[in-house]
Every structure is written in C-alpha cells, then in structure tokens.
C-alpha cells in the first residue's frame, strides 16, 4: 500500500458523551446505556480513544434543566453528568489523550473558570482543553437566578472579557500550569461566534453536513483568522462526524435503517422540538412545518431557527417528514454509512479538499460503534500514513501540533 509520509495528518477527536449521537442509539441491542453512570465505562472508552490515537476526548455541556414540567420527552431527557468530572476521571486512567471540557462563560465567573481549568490542566498533566461556549438554551437563566439570558452579542462580548480575565489570572498563578493555560477551543456558528473563534480559538468544533459545507466554513474561518493577524495553520477545524460502519455499504445502510427504526415518529418530533426549543406536541405530523408557531414560541434566537426551517418550509415538506429527516442528520453534522475502507477514503478526501483538519467522531451508539472505528478504520488511516501511530508528546498542545503558545491571544 502507498504511504505518503508528507500528507497531512488527520486529527481525531472523540465525542463520547452520553449514549451516542442517534436519539435511538441507546436502544441498539449491544448498547450499554446504563453504564454511562459508571467509572468502568469511562475507563473503557477513555482507553479506547487512546488506542485509536485520538487527540482528545471532547464533551459538550448544557446548563438548562431537562425533564421538568413534562415538556421534555421521557425518552430524551437524558441526565448528563458534569463533563469536567468525567474528563478528569478519564485522565486518571489514560496517559496521552487530551480532555476538552465545554464550559460556559455566561454562567461562570472568570475566577471560577480560571481555578477550575488550571486545576484540570495540572491534574491531567497538561492535557486540558476548554471549549469556550456562551450557552444557547434560554431556560438556563433560571438556574442562575436570572429572568432572561443575555442576547447573543452581549454573551460573546462577555466571553471576550472573561477569557481575557481568566488569562490574566493564569499568568499570575503561583503554581505552574503545565500548558500555561488550557488549549482554547470554540464552537459557534454566527458571525459573532466566528469572529470570537478567529481571535481566540486554537481548534474549532462545528457541524458540516457535506464536503462543500466544510470547505465553505474552513475557508471563511481561515480568512477571519488571517484578518486578525494570526496564522490559520495554527488552528484546527474539526467538524462532527457521526457514523455507522459495516463490512459493506449495503449492510451499513441496513444497520442504519434498523437503528433509525427504533426512533418512531413521535420521538423524531420530540427530538426536533428539543433542538428548536419549542413545544411541538399537538402539531399534526402530516401538515406542513408550522413555521409561524415555531418562530413565535421558540426560546432560541428566531433568526437561527428561521435559517434551519425556511428552505424546507417553503418546499411544503410535512412536519413528520422533516423531523424524520432531521434525526437522520443529527444536528447538522455529517453522517457516514459504509465500510471501513470507504470511511477512511472519505476522511482523507475531506482533509485533502480543505474541508477540515480532522473530525470530531460522534458514534451513533456506544460503545460498539467506536470500537469498530478504532479496530477497523484507524489501522487503515495509519497504513496510509494519515494517522500517527504514537503520540508526539505529553500535552494536548503537543498532540494537536499547535506549536508555542500565542502570547497575545485574548489579551
């Protein structure tokens, strides 16, 4: 087999939180949903990610309440344990893999963040990353004694000053922090979000359903990064990638269909409702998407929701069909269904086309689908010289190949 040692390395992140990325994934016969509350599970998947030579394990986080007041479906209201706790626990049973925690700047003071993340970087021996988010769900406010969540632009302005203040605290820290500070990561789509990423992020997590989406996003971000005087090559763009693997494409499609069968129409609509933060119970699935109702009642910014719905609504697609299709491309991320060889080829094609620097792997169900990836796709990528066989160093910064700390970031 041809190996090209000079070809760009593919970066891999593992998004391992919860029960997998299909809302029906936990119902897979081999899924182990109850284990996501046990240390055994995190030991197993942490070591698996490290065996697959992933840069990092990444966890999202939401600070709103689910399952209260009957709005959230009994089948979707998955409790999520605190991501920092899960990640540092995995640090104790792994040696190299980075650990990226999503922490909101809207509901943490700079002091809380600085101390929490400094501790995380120290106890993990320099493997900490911070996915800097501003929170998206309006109902989060009530958990922090506030009536309303600040507007998005105010949240991003606060993010800028919070990161600057935390950076100042890290620079003054008495106990050395292995990486100086955690690696900065960003996930956000709006203009404000992208500008924030351009100034601050060393890696970016985003959805990109197609290779063209990926190229457009990465090109835009690289331009924004260059425009603020930073080197675009020092930033990794890591779109989400859900996947279903089987020996042949046909078998993968059948496996996918069987898994999606477990999500009935009601569940699909509930999943969509939760994403749009709007109550869709009582809506007729066979009627057109109730665009007016949704825009009037959503708790999310209307323009964001309109962006997702305007196209399908204008085509007269029914609510049921839209919800069913939505579940098939979870939250706008790419979904791969096929053989290990096809998957490796697809990943290489995306990277070589400039659509991304790597992928945030989102197994459709856990842990079996991740095991398949590590056992069957990782060796192919390694054979082709596109995935390292060993970790280059100890810290997440080394693993991401980021080079020295950019001193003026966030200053």
């Amino acid at each position: 087999m041809m190996t090209d040692q000079s070809a760009p390395q593919i970066h891999l992140w593992a998004f391992l939180q919860g029960i997998g990325h299909y809302p029906s994934g936990w119902r897979h016969p081999q899924a182990t949903p109850a284990e996501v509350f046990t240390m055994d599970y995190y030991r197993r998947v942490g070591r698996l990610a490290e065996r697959g030579r992933f840069d990092a394990i990444v966890f999202g986080d939401q600070l709103h309440s689910r399952g209260a007041g009957g709005r959230t479906s009994e089948r979707l209201a998955m409790p999520t344990l605190d991501p920092v706790t899960l990640l540092v626990a995995m640090a104790a049973v792994t040696e190299h893999v980075g650990l990226v925690a999503t922490i909101s700047t809207t509901y943490n003071s700079p002091q809380m963040l600085a101390e929490r993340l400094a501790t995380m970087d120290r106890i993990t021996g320099g493997r900490a990353g911070w996915n800097i988010v501003t929170s998206a769900y309006a109902t989060t406010a009530g958990n922090f004694g506030e009536e309303q969540m600040p507007e998005k632009s105010a949240r991003y302005a606060n993010a800028v000053s919070t990161v600057a203040e935390a950076t100042r605290l890290w620079q003054q820290a008495e106990v050395p922090i292995p990486q100086g500070r955690p690696v900065f990561i960003q996930a956000g789509q709006s203009g404000d979000g992208r500008d924030f990423a351009a100034r601050t992020a060393e890696a970016i997590f985003c959805p990109a359903a197609t290779i063209d989406d990926g190229i457009a996003f990465r090109t835009d971000l690289r331009q924004r990064i260059a425009a603020v005087g930073r080197n675009p090559d020092a930033v990794r763009i890591m779109p989400g990638l859900s996947f279903i693997l089987a020996p042949t494409e046909e078998e993968a499609l059948a496996k996918d269909a069987a898994l999606l069968e477990l999500a009935d129409l009601d569940l699909c609509i509930e999943y969509l409702a939760e994403s749009l933060t709007v109550d869709l119970s009582g809506q007729d699935p066979s009627a057109p998407i109730p665009l007016e109702h949704i825009l009037e009642n959503t708790l999310a910014p209307r323009e964001d929701i309109a962006k997702v719905l305007a196209g399908p609504a204008s085509k007269g697609i029914s609510l049921g069909d839209f919800a069913t299709a939505y579940v098939r491309t979870p939250r706008g991320h790419n979904v791969f269904r096929g053989s290990p060889e096809q998957m490796a080829d697809m990943m290489i094609r995306w990277v070589d086309a400039g659509a991304c620097d790597g992928f945030t792997m989102q197994p459709a169900w856990m842990p079996g689908e991740l095991e398949l990836f590590v056992d069957q796709v990782v060796p192919i990528l390694q054979e082709k010289g596109r995935l390292r066989r060993n970790y280059p160093g100890k810290t997440l910064r080394d693993t991401l190949g980021l080079g020295p700390l950019e001193a003026d970031l966030a200053a």
């Binding site: 309440s65 399952g67 344990l81 640090a91 104790a92 049973v93 809380m112 501790t119 106890i123 569940l267």
Partner: protein, 266 residues
C-alpha cells in the same frame, strides 16, 4: 452495627494538583485504612478540590473523598452537578466540606440548602432505561427545585442525577463552621461543640492513641482527624498508631460503611 472509630485526614498542599504526588498520597492513605481524605482547607485553596475529586474517584477504590467547596466562588448548580458525578464515578464514596471563607454571613448555609434541594429534585430510581419500550426515565420523578434563598435563586432541577448516596456526605470544619444543623461529620478541636452525627477530634499524630480510644468508648468523640503536614510520613504514623482502632468496614457506599445511611434522617 457497632459504632465505628473513624479516621480522617486533610491537606491543602498544592502538590495535590500533581498527579504523581496525589496518586502516591491517596494510595498510601487508602492502604492505611483512612476513612476520609479531605482535599482543601479553609486557609489554603491552591486548587479546585471538586476537580481533584473527579480524578481521585478514578484513582482510588475504597477511601472516602471529600472536597472543600468555598461558598464565595461556587454556584449551587455547578456544585450539585460536579459532586453528583463524583459520587457516581466513585460508587458512592464522596463527601463535601462547605467553606464560608470570607463570604457574607449565611451564604454557605444557603449553598448547602440549594445543593441539597437540587439533589432532591431527582427521586431515587428515576431511570428506567428500557430498550424494549424506549422509556429512558420516569419524568414524574423529576421536579423543579425553585430554591429561593438569601443568596441563591435556582430553578432546577439539576441536569445531573441524584447521587448514589442520596446526599453526599456533609462534613463541617470547626475552623470555619458552616451552620448546618444536620451535618454528617464535624471536625472539632478540643472542647468545641458542633451539631453533627459524628464528631472527629482534630488531633496530632503525636497524641496518645490510648487516650483517644478511651474518649471514643466514652462516646465523647467518634474518631480522629489529622491535618497532614509531611503527608507521607504522617500517613505512615497514623496507620501505625491509630490504625489498630479501626474495625473492618461493611457496606457499598461511604454512608453505609460509616453507619450514616441517609434514611436515618427521614
């Protein structure tokens, strides 16, 4: 079950941030049969003990792990979640020690009430996880918290879960006593009286184990607490001198092993 003699230690040593040092100290304490390892102290906070606790949950298997949690720089929603996760990952071996520090009067008490309220928003056995029916949990067993105290207003419920211990073990320190009427454990200095189900006397590794044992049998104290200075050496001495006072422990969670099951409160 007879009353157990409890052994507890604490450290605010910044080296607890260092995985190599932390691993050796925690494992020595565990080998020594120490019941509780308190991370952080009222007068020293070089780290966020809740973060260390998550790591310690994976790095230990028997010892009770307790985080000092300062009211001034914590929020009940974050605290309830972080500690719930630690309790899951440690199989019910965790505790917390709220600190008032220089926060306004009553703030730490408000934090304790809010955090407990968030845990109580989830009934035990809320999860169903039935693949056949597709029911993951019973939503009728999850309630809003609506805590409104003088300092914290929290709608809830917390998006975590009720910890395996129900409420993780509540420890208060006589050096910074938080006014909880129903603490599980109080770390008291000589002559100090604090309401708690068990009182551990803060003493030194050089004190007389025989005299300590007598006070335990008279019911004056329930065990001993040591602040580690030279951690490895102190732990070795504690094991040698006070270890013989400790009987075998039975039970799954820390509460059960220490005879402090939550049901006794009801």
């Amino acid at each position: 079950m007879s009353r157990a003699f409890l052994l507890s230690v604490s450290t605010g040593d910044p080296r607890l941030n260092d995985p190599l040092w932390a691993r050796s100290v925690l494992s020595a304490a565990e080998q020594a049969g120490i019941d509780l390892f308190v991370m952080g102290r009222p007068d020293a906070r070089p780290f966020d003990a809740q973060v260390i606790l998550g790591w310690a949950a994976a790095a230990t298997s028997r010892i009770g792990i307790v985080a000092a949690v300062p009211a001034a720089t914590s929020h009940p929603f974050h605290v309830a979640r972080a500690l719930s996760a630690v309790d899951f990952l440690s199989d019910g071996r965790s505790g917390w020690l709220p600190l008032s520090g220089d926060s306004p009067d009553g703030m730490a008490e408000d934090m304790v009430a809010a955090v407990r309220g968030l845990w109580d928003g989830w009934d035990p056995d809320t999860l169903i996880i039935d693949k056949a029916s597709g029911r993951y949990l019973d939503a009728s067993r999850v309630r809003s918290t609506n805590h409104e105290g003088p300092f914290f207003k929290v709608a809830g419920p917390v998006n975590a879960m009720r910890p395996p211990q129900g409420h993780i073990l509540l420890v208060i320190d006589g050096a910074d006593p938080v006014g909880a009427a129903d603490a599980d454990i109080a770390l008291v200095s000589e002559g100090q009286v604090l309401p708690a189900r068990r009182r551990l006397l803060k003493t030194s590794v050089d004190s007389d184990p025989g005299a300590t044992a007598e006070r335990f049998f008279r019911g004056e104290i329930d065990g001993a607490h040591f602040e580690l200075n030279d951690a490895m050496a102190d732990i070795a001495l504690i094991a040698e001198r006070f270890g013989p006072l400790v009987d075998a422990r039975e039970g799954k969670t820390l509460r059960q092993r220490l005879g402090l099951a939550l049901e006794e409160f009801a």
